[in-house]
């Protein structure tokens, strides 16, 4: 009988602790706006977007609103992310900001069940992919950086006119880049008389295994922004340095890591635009109504040290402002 009492007491204590933790989580201070930030994993680019969003939002609402940020980091686990999205909705924040297409898709799926009405801003999300399942809900807006492959390849031809064969490495699980490759990138390459060789991969470590056998006769390696490939940038840099062909990235962060060229948008811009929109919504200056903000790439970053290691000589006029509108800047690895 004593052991039964003991079990009862311990069970009651256990449930009391769980319930207390739940209640603590539900508490909200008066007068403070809750902003939930949902992102799939820790990544330097996503961190830049998140920090830029917070800074812009805090700046725009300074002395007007108090904001508390709650973070939901999926740690690369989709099941966990799903759970976190549900949790975020259950807490009914004043605004939700998500980073990346994966988070946005999960939010869209959750909205169909939850019918939540709080404003939602999806940063760095692929609008086309999100609209595949139908028009966006009225309380969801997207800030998306879009690619400009024709311009990207024109710039490559300007810097390396002899480029005729490009190896494109991409994540075969990323539907966006498979689609972009077929519908946008291949036609753009055809226009510039560039032959494409593709290397689809599933995991970052596959690049080191598979790339050496694909390098025959290749004039350059091209990558998109998919995180699987970008996270293996070191393998790509090693391959590019060994075979003396330039590595051309579609984001700017990879240039500091050893890519000779990078064409894209500063990640902070996505965060800033999202933060500015969030501030306007929270200050009731604007209604959030299925807005779509497109940010086009504007910068070509050149790593002159990496370029010389990868057998690329940069023409003199490439170091000045281009008549095509891209801004060239040098970046040197120390």
């Amino acid at each position: 009988m004593f052991s039964r009492t003991k079990s009862f007491v311990f069970s009651a204590l256990f449930f009391a602790v769980i319930f207390s933790i739940y209640l603590m989580g539900q508490q909200r201070s008066e007068g403070i706006l809750e902003v939930a930030i949902i992102y799939p994993l820790e990544h330097p680019s996503l961190e830049k977007i998140r920090i830029a969003f917070e800074e812009k939002l805090s700046l725009k609402t300074e002395n007007k609103l108090s904001i508390h940020f709650t973070y939901y980091n999926g740690s690369g686990n989709r099941l966990l992310m799903n759970q976190q999205v549900e949790q975020a909705f259950a807490k009914k924040p004043d605004l939700i900001f998500s980073i990346s297409t994966i988070s946005a898709s999960m939010i869209l799926a959750a909205l169909q069940k939850n019918h939540a009405t709080m404003p939602i801003i999806c940063g760095a999300a692929d609008i086309d992919l999100l609209e595949e399942s139908g028009p966006l809900p009225h309380n969801l807006s997207v800030v998306s950086d879009v690619e400009d492959y024709p311009k990207q390849l024109k710039l490559l031809k300007k810097i390396k006119p002899s480029a005729q064969k490009l190896l494109v490495v991409y994540d075969q699980g990323a539907a966006k880049y498979q689609r972009d490759l077929k519908n946008l990138f291949e036609p753009a390459a055809l226009k510039e008389n560039i032959e494409l060789l593709t290397l689809p991969i599933n995991l970052p470590q596959e690049i080191g295994q598979k790339i050496p056998l694909k390098m025959d006769g290749v004039d350059g390696i091209m990558i998109f922004k998919d995180s699987t490939v970008v996270s293996a940038i070191e393998s790509l840099v090693k391959a590019a340095n060994f075979h003396k062909v330039p590595l051309y990235a579609s984001d700017l962060d990879s240039v500091a890591k050893g890519a000779a060229l990078g064409f894209g948008i500063e990640e902070e811009k996505t965060g800033e635009e999202s933060g500015a929109l969030a501030a306007r919504v929270l200050l009731r200056e604007e209604e959030l109504f299925s807005q779509k903000i497109f940010l086009k790439p504007q910068m070509l970053l050149i790593n002159t040290s990496a370029a010389s290691m990868q057998g690329l000589s940069i023409p003199e006029d490439a170091l000045k402002e281009s008549p095509m509108g891209a801004i060239y800047r040098e970046s040197l690895i120390k």
Binding site: L41, E42, G76, Q172, L199, P200, I201, N202, L203, P204, Q205, I207, G208, Q209, K210, P212, L213, K214, D216, S231, A232, I233, E234, S235, V237, K238, F242, K257, G258
Partner: protein, 304 residues
């Protein structure tokens, strides 16, 4: 072109040869479903990164390489030791012990790395001992050949000793130890620890070659190990050479097939599916056509 392809196949094979050798001990000889090799692989890579961060900059490449290899082996062996404790002391089946080890050591590696992905390009390549001139052949290949030869010699020597024979008996008939009043757990600990130390070495070699350590480094390695070992088993049984060379034959076959597929333009989207089909074909072939061992198989001791 041919020489270039062969050098790449050799290079890729030698990177994971220690891992396949480790898999040979636990999966082939001891007949354990050893998924924890993945954890040992990652932990070896993680510790090697930490060691590289603390090595003095003016240290020679050869002593540094020896130190890193020793540290990676030690790291891998710790995974094997923990897995063995779970199995022997707590009587958890090896499969579940492996799953526990994978979960624990992946989190531990994540904690030690401080980030899910760490670049190694800031450190020199200690595998490059300047033994070969810069050419089409990768400069790290010479070190890999030396490491592989040393491991192969040690492996052949070990299998001739009582310990090596005991490791094989463990997979065939554990009652032997009970009957002869020998400590079965000692063999379990030694075999698993040794296998995982080899996996740890491979973890360093692969991460140094790729230029980064990622917490997903060991993902999918199980299928690679099993496929390579199956190829090795079939080669040794069909061609009649000793099982001592199964690991080497298997890994070379695996990467030759891998290379041929890449060169032929095969759609790599379905590569893992093809790997699974290859495993199925090997199992089927072994069952139907190799049910009786070849007379040409050289044996010594207990059929090694």
């Amino acid at each position: 072109m041919m020489l270039h392809m062969l050098s790449i196949i050799l290079y890729q094979s030698l990177l994971i040869f220690p891992l396949i050798l480790g898999g040979f001990y636990t999966i082939v000889l001891m007949r354990l479903p050893d998924l924890a090799l993945e954890a040992a692989f990652l932990t070896g890579a993680t510790i090697s990164m930490l060691v590289m961060a603390f090595l003095p900059k003016d240290m020679g490449h050869l002593p540094a390489l020896c130190f890193i290899l020793f540290s990676s082996a030690l790291a891998g062996s710790s995974v094997g030791f923990i897995t063995s404790i779970l199995r022997e002391k707590l009587q958890i089946s090896h499969l579940f012990a492996s799953i526990i080890s994978i979960g624990f050591f992946t989190s531990l590696s994540r904690f030690m790395l401080g980030a899910p992905h760490v670049s190694l390009l800031v450190y020199p390549s200690y595998l490059d001992l300047q033994l070969l001139p810069d050419s089409l052949i990768k400069p790290e290949l010479a070190s890999l050949i030396v490491i592989a030869i040393l491991l192969a010699v040690a492996h052949r020597f070990l299998l001739k000793t009582q310990l090596g024979l005991a490791v094989e008996i463990y997979g065939v008939n554990r009652l032997f130890f009970k009957f002869h009043r020998l400590k079965e757990s000692f063999i379990a600990y030694t075999g698993t620890t040794l296998a995982h130390s080899l996996a740890g070495i491979s973890g360093y070699l692969v991460s140094q070659s790729h230029g980064f350590v990622d917490t997903s480094l060991g993902s999918g390695i199980g299928l690679q190990v099993i496929t390579a070992l199956l190829f090795g088993v079939i080669c040794s049984e069909r061609l009649g050479f000793a099982r001592t060379y199964q690991a080497l034959a298997g890994v070379c076959c695996y990467f030759t097939l891998h290379g041929l597929l890449l060169i032929s333009g095969f759609d790599l989207t379905y590569f893992t599916g093809l790997q699974a089909v290859a495993v199925a074909i090997c199992c089927f072939y072994r069952r139907i056509y190799l049910s009786a061992p070849s007379e040409k198989v050289k044996t010594y001791g207990f059929g090694v």
